[in-house]
């Protein structure tokens, strides 16, 4: 180990012990207005009636998210594109104005800071972006790039800054002699190292890394990930590591949060989350990663449908419209089999994934010939009546209305009655691996 150096930590998180919470996010919301364009207020939602909506709509990119990040740890934040993970990262850094909620960082609420106070704080929180190309100014030399944040925060004098920049170049695995080069002379992995050096220049405590390795080839990815781990140890850094790649998340994180449509649906210790996932979305996500081993796999549980719009997210659990384990509404008696069939039928009608058929064919196709007992059976029968080809009137227009009616009938009677639709889930579960709290937003744990 080299000298723990003047780069050290005279100002980093002095009063917070390792493992105590460094960042505490509570009830954080970030809504975006859609206010450009002539028809901005008009929106189309085929799941609603009438499908055209007029009025200001807000995209709920991050909706009521709470968690903490502990000093010295890496919290992985994983989710698919559009789930709000980058927005969350940027809102925490106050690169975006939060709509509501608090961001407690070392005793200050970042959400309410402004102006000079906030600017000062920025030396303690830094960010690394996904695209190493566009996050470096092509006209500046690498040395200047690394020194710029120090200059902005009035750190050191010219000579001191140059010395520190060179030292940092070496720390991130670059040659200090490259101080005078331009970014174009570096490869993607090297540029990401320059980004690392720049972020480290002001001696931050906390770095938000937004997909830092996803633009890199695997072999280069490993180099950069290893360097990030080494630097974390050396400088006592805390990372919020945002990525869509579950393998990378599994490698680098201590704890992992899974995001879906603006909410955190599960948060647990890494080992616990990967080995004992408790939210159906996490399970689906884990099952769909292709494993680099031809002897594994085949156990793919593919998720149906697509992510709903964040403008009008589903009530209750946001994953319920695609959840393979949507809970049966309580007021009816169901056997598991009949509920599974009804759910499948309901979704097939909703998405119109099958060609029009006759009454008889529908019963066989979806229910194996026997409809559910009692009231649910009657509702299903009514829906079949509406869409079956042998009952329908000939006019095309009419059929469209009948499909819509059948869909609304099924959704109203079943999906919207489920506890998944009526209550927002939030449960704490006994972990199987480790001792850390395991949070899962799923009513299966009620």
């Amino acid at each position: 180990m080299t000298v723990s150096s003047p780069l050290g930590s005279e100002m980093s998180g002095e009063d917070i012990a390792y493992g105590d919470s460094l960042v505490e996010v509570d009830g954080l919301k970030k809504y975006f207005n859609q206010d450009s364009g002539l028809l901005s207020g008009v929106s189309f939602d085929p799941n609603q009636f009438p499908p055209i909506d007029v009025g200001q709509q807000r995209v709920k990119a991050v909706d009521d998210v709470s968690f903490e990040i502990r000093r010295g740890e890496t919290l992985g934040l994983v989710g698919e594109s559009g789930c709000g993970k980058s927005t969350l990262g940027r809102t925490i850094l106050r690169l975006l104005e939060p709509t509501d909620g608090t961001i407690n960082f070392k005793g200050d609420d970042l959400a309410t800071l402004s102006g000079e106070e906030l600017r000062q704080k920025r030396s303690e929180i830094q960010m690394i972006f996904q695209d190493p190309q566009s996050s470096l100014d092509p006209r500046m030399r690498v040395g200047q790039i690394i020194e710029e944040p120090m200059r902005a925060h009035d750190m050191l004098d010219d000579e001191g800054r140059e010395e520190r920049a060179k030292e940092l170049l070496e720390k991130v695995g670059l040659d200090p002699h490259h101080y005078n080069r331009h970014p174009h002379a570096f490869s993607g992995g090297q540029r990401q190292r320059v980004n690392l050096a720049r972020a480290l220049s002001v001696n931050p405590d906390f770095i938000v890394c937004d997909e830092p390795v996803s633009a890199l080839d695997v072999s280069i990815q490993a180099q950069v990930l290893n360097t990030m781990e080494k630097l974390q140890e050396e400088f006592g850094l805390t990372y919020l590591f945002i990525a869509h790649d579950l393998s990378v998340i599994r490698h680098i994180s201590d704890r992992v949060a899974v995001m879906y449509l603006g909410n955190i649906v599960e948060l647990a210790d890494k080992e616990e989350l990967f080995e004992n996932p408790q939210h159906p979305y996490t399970e689906a996500l884990l099952e769909s990663i292709p494993v680099p081993d031809p002897r594994k796999g085949e156990a793919r549980g593919v998720l149906e449908g697509e992510v709903p719009s964040p403008i009008n997210p589903p009530s209750g659990c946001r994953f319920r419209t695609r959840c393979p384990r949507l809970i049966a509404p309580d007021e009816y008696e169901w056997t598991d089999e009949k509920w599974d069939q009804t759910r499948a039928f309901m979704r097939a009608v909703k998405r119109r994934t099958f060609e029009p058929m006759t009454d008889e064919e529908l019963r066989v196709e979806f229910f194996g010939g026997t409809l559910p007992q009692g009231e649910p059976g009657e509702i299903v029968e009514e829906a079949i009546d509406l869409i079956a080809t042998d009952h329908a009137s000939d006019e095309l227009e009419q059929t469209q209305d009948e499909w819509d009616e059948a869909r609304e009938l099924l959704l109203d009677s079943f999906a919207r009655q489920s506890i998944c639709a009526t209550e927002e889930p939030a449960y704490e579960i006994e972990p199987e691996y480790g001792t850390d709290a395991h949070f899962a937003a799923c009513h299966l744990h009620r």
Binding site: E80, L246, S288, I289, P290, P292, P294, G297, E306
Partner: protein
């Protein structure tokens, strides 16, 4: 092994003539695709896999040019050169003309799925209209029949409510749905071979899963062969029957998928597998491959991987290894281009291990732009 391969590529060379010099993007690769199999073409960016796949359809554009080799598809020569009377290489007589390539081969016999569906679909025409036009042109159907067929194809690839969505524009489709449209387009003429160039790379994992399942299903149904170009070893393990690993314009290992992962014969493939974080288990420390891939404009002497290879010895600097059979599995050869295997017999065992130059990760990416 079935008798005659569907597609045979021999010693294919594609080069780009630039101001800085000749880039040997694809430098003498050979492989075969048999009926009904999915053949992977894997490598990191810059390995030449996309250029190789585009060469198959003669879709390489200037300043790029196919300069050597032979491509045979079902007995027809897609590309072939011969020596003319004055010693110059010229195109062979039996090579298909551009016209024939366009009308008979592309789309009808061999189709392509590209990585970025937004760039492939025209944003100012409806999705259905584009699909219909494609079917109309290639299959000689009337507009009405083509429309029916287009809707049928959209349903086939799992697009919900295809009649409605037929009228929509590409921007109204999500990434996964657009990729499905491209698959529908590729399948529309029931080709025998589909070249898929990183078709799932831009997609989320759950969507990628859906698409891979769809391809599996359709492949079973239509018995289509695939050349699957990707950098993702996970996808390769999941979908491919046989795999070609590319490094700097060359194929350095060829094997059935199980052998490639469990009986790896080339140090590069090995290193690639070791450098990957795993989704199915926690890896303590990753073993990255040292350095970066050199540029194809000035490849290293001898074995092109030797400057980064953990097993490199003195002989590796001198001898350029051809891809040779080092084992057999399921009737298929397992080829590797590494002199450490006995079949090469160039004195690897006696050769001295190379002194590792301290490979700074900061070595210049190319020799060209050293200094200011």
């Amino acid at each position: 092994m079935s008798s005659e391969p569907l597609l045979r590529v021999e010693n294919l060379k594609t080069q780009f003539f630039t101001d800085a010099g000749t880039v040997r993007a694809v430098d003498g690769i050979s492989f075969e695709v048999h009926e009904g199999e999915i053949v992977g073409l894997v490598g990191e960016s810059g390995a030449g896999k996309s250029v190789a796949s585009m060469s198959l359809l003669r879709l390489v554009e200037s300043p790029g040019e196919i300069v050597g080799g032979e491509i045979t598809y079902r007995g027809e020569t897609l590309f072939g050169l011969e020596e003319g009377p004055d010693g110059e290489l010229r195109e062979r007589d039996d090579m298909l003309s551009n016209e024939e390539m366009r009308t008979r081969i592309r789309g009808n016999e061999i189709a392509v799925i590209f990585q970025d569906p937004m760039e492939t679909l025209n944003p100012v025409f409806t999705v259905g209209g584009q699909l219909r036009e494609f079917i109309e042109l290639n299959r000689d159907l009337s507009g009405k029949e083509a429309r029916k067929e287009a809707i049928e194809m959209l349903r086939e690839v799992g697009i919900p409510d295809p009649e409605e969505r037929y009228e929509e524009y590409p921007h109204q489709f999500s990434g996964g749905m657009r990729q499905r449209v491209l698959i529908a387009m590729a399948l529309a003429c029931e080709p025998n071979l589909i070249i898929a160039d990183e078709p799932t790379t831009a997609l989320d994992v759950t969507v990628e899963g859906q698409i891979i399942d769809l391809v599996d299903e359709l492949q079973e149904k239509y018995d289509t062969s695939f050349v699957w170009v990707t950098h993702d070893m996970g996808v390769v393990a999941e979908i491919c029957d046989r795999v070609n690993v590319m490094y700097l314009g060359e194929i350095i290992e060829q094997a059935p998928v199980d052998e490639l992962f469990h009986d790896t014969k080339h140090p590069y493939t090995e290193a690639l597998l070791n450098s990957m974080p795993r989704p199915d288990r926690t890896v303590g420390e990753l073993e990255p491959i040292e350095g970066v891939m050199p540029e194809a404009i000035s490849p290293p002497s001898g074995c092109r991987f030797h400057p980064r290879c953990p097993d490199a010895r003195e002989v590796c600097q001198r001898v350029h290894p051809e891809n040779k059979e080092v084992a057999r599995a399921d009737g298929y050869p397992h080829n590797a281009a590494c002199v450490k295997h006995d079949v090469f017999d160039v004195g690897y065992d006696e050769s001295v291990p190379l002194d590792k130059e301290p490979q700074m990760t900061a070595s210049t990416p190319s020799a060209g732009d050293d200094g200011e």
